[in-house]
Symmetry: C2
Subunit: 224 residues, 2 copies
C-alpha cells in the first residue's frame, strides 16, 4: 500500500469542473469519496481506498466498487464528519500522506463546495491546512496558517486572490500588483483579482486562516 | 424608470450555471454587471442600468452596450468596491429595489463567487442581507441576520444547508430533519445536506450572519 507523497481525492462534484484529462495526468494514488469512487473506476483508476455511505449508488455500481477497492470505509448517512473530511483523515492518518489534493469539490451543490472550503477551519483539520488543496479546471485553492510565505505562480493562472476565511491580523501583501501593509481584516472577504508581478508572491499575516486562490479565465468564459 | 420590487443582476459567471431559460422566465428589471450586460442584450433584454469597467469587452461590444443602456456607470479597474457591490448599491439606493436577485455569480472563478457570497458581511451591505439572493441552476442562496425565521421550501429543491459565515450564537434548527438547539458555532461551517420535513423550516440565532442554501441534484449529477 502506498505511503507518503501526494494523495488525490476525487469527490462527487460535476466532471465539467475537473481539470482536463484529470485521471490521465494525475497518476495517483487516488482515494474515492462516495460517487467519486465509481468515476475513478470508470476512468480505469483503481483507488487505494474509498470512503462514503454510497447510498446514491445502484446495487451493480456498489458491487463494482467492492470488486475494485480493497480498503472501503462505509460511513453512516448521519454522522459528525463529512465523507470528504473522513477521506482527508484517512489520507493523512492511515496512509501518511504529505499532501492531499482534492478534485471534484467544486461546481454543483454549493453547500458541498463550502463544506470542503471550510474543512481547514475545523480544529481537527487546521494542522493540515497548508497540506490541503482544492483543484478544479480554473482554480487552485490553498490554505495558510499565520506566517510569512512566498507563493509560486502557476504558469496557466493569471489571477491571485487572498481570502481570509476568518478575521486575520496584520495582512501584508508585499510584492503583488495590489499591496497591503499590516491590514486588519475583521471578517471573511475575497480580495480578488490581484496579480503576481513576477514568478512569486510574498505575503504574511499574524492570526486566523487565509485561503489563496490562483485562477484563470477559460476560453469559454471569454467567448461564450 | 422602474422602481421598487425585485431587481435582477446578471454578473459574468458561466452561462452553464444559469437557471434554465433565465432571461425568458425572469422578466426584469435587469441590471447588467460588466460582461453580464452584453449577455443580457444578446438575449434581447434591455438592462435598466449597467455597471462595470467593461475592460474585457471589445470596442464593438462596448458600443452595443452604449446603444442599449441609458444608465451606464463606468467603474475604475482599481477600486474599493467590486462591480457587483456597486450594482447592489445602485439597485437598492438609486432604484429603490425591495429585493435583489443575483444571477451569474457562481461557477468559473471561485474568487469571484466568494466575493459575491461575502458581500453581506461588509458593514455597508449587511443591512440588505435578507433582501439579497444568489441564484443558479442548482442553488438558491439567501442570507439572514439574527432573528427567528420560517423559511419556505422551494418545490424543486431537496436539500437545505445552514452555513454560518461568521461565528454565531444559539443556532436552533427547530423542525428540520437534523435539528440543533442553542448551538454555538465558533467559525464558518457548512451544515449541509439537511432537509425540510414539511413545506417550511423554522430556525433562529442570536448573533452573526447566516447563509442558507436550498439546492438540488441535477439529472447530469446523478447520471454523468
Amino acid at each position: 500500500m502506498p505511503r507518503g507523497g501526494t494523495f488525490n481525492l476525487l469527490v462527487g462534484g460535476p466532471k465539467a469542473n475537473w481539470p482536463a484529462d484529470l485521471t490521465e495526468k494525475i497518476v495517483g494514488p487516488w482515494i474515492g469519496v462516495d460517487r467519486g469512487t465509481l468515476r475513478l473506476i470508470e476512468h480505469n483508476v483503481q483507488p487505494v481506498a474509498a470512503i462514503g455511505d454510497f447510498d446514491s449508488l445502484a446495487a451493480p455500481e456498489l458491487q463494482r466498487v467492492r470488486r475494485n477497492v480493497k480498503d472501503i470505509r462505509q460511513s453512516q448517512p448521519e454522522k459528525d464528519f463529512t465523507d470528504t473530511q473522513m477521506a482527508v483523515s484517512v489520507a493523512f492518518g492511515d496512509y501518511g500522506a504529505e499532501q492531499v489534493d482534492i478534485y471534484g469539490a467544486t461546481g454543483g451543490r454549493l453547500d458541498h463546495f463550502l463544506a470542503n472550503l471550510f474543512i481547514v477551519l475545523e480544529p481537527q483539520y487546521k494542522r493540515y491546512a497548508n497540506r490541503i488543496r482544492l483543484i478544479d479546471k480554473q482554480n487552485t485553492i490553498s490554505f495558510y496558517l499565520p506566517g510569512h510565505y512566498q507563493l509560486r505562480k502557476e504558469p496557466d493562472k493569471n489571477y491571485l486572490a487572498f481570502i481570509p476565511l476568518t478575521s486575520i491580523d496584520h495582512l501584508s501583501l508585499l510584492d503583488e500588483k495590489y499591496q497591503l501593509h499590516d491590514e486588519p481584516i475583521p471578517y471573511p472577504i475575497s480580495l480578488a483579482s490581484n496579480e503576481f508581478t513576477g514568478e512569486t508572491g510574498e505575503f504574511q499575516f499574524d492570526t486566523g486562516v487565509l485561503c489563496v486562490i490562483q485562477s484563470c479565465d477559460t476560453y469559454e468564459a471569454r467567448h461564450e
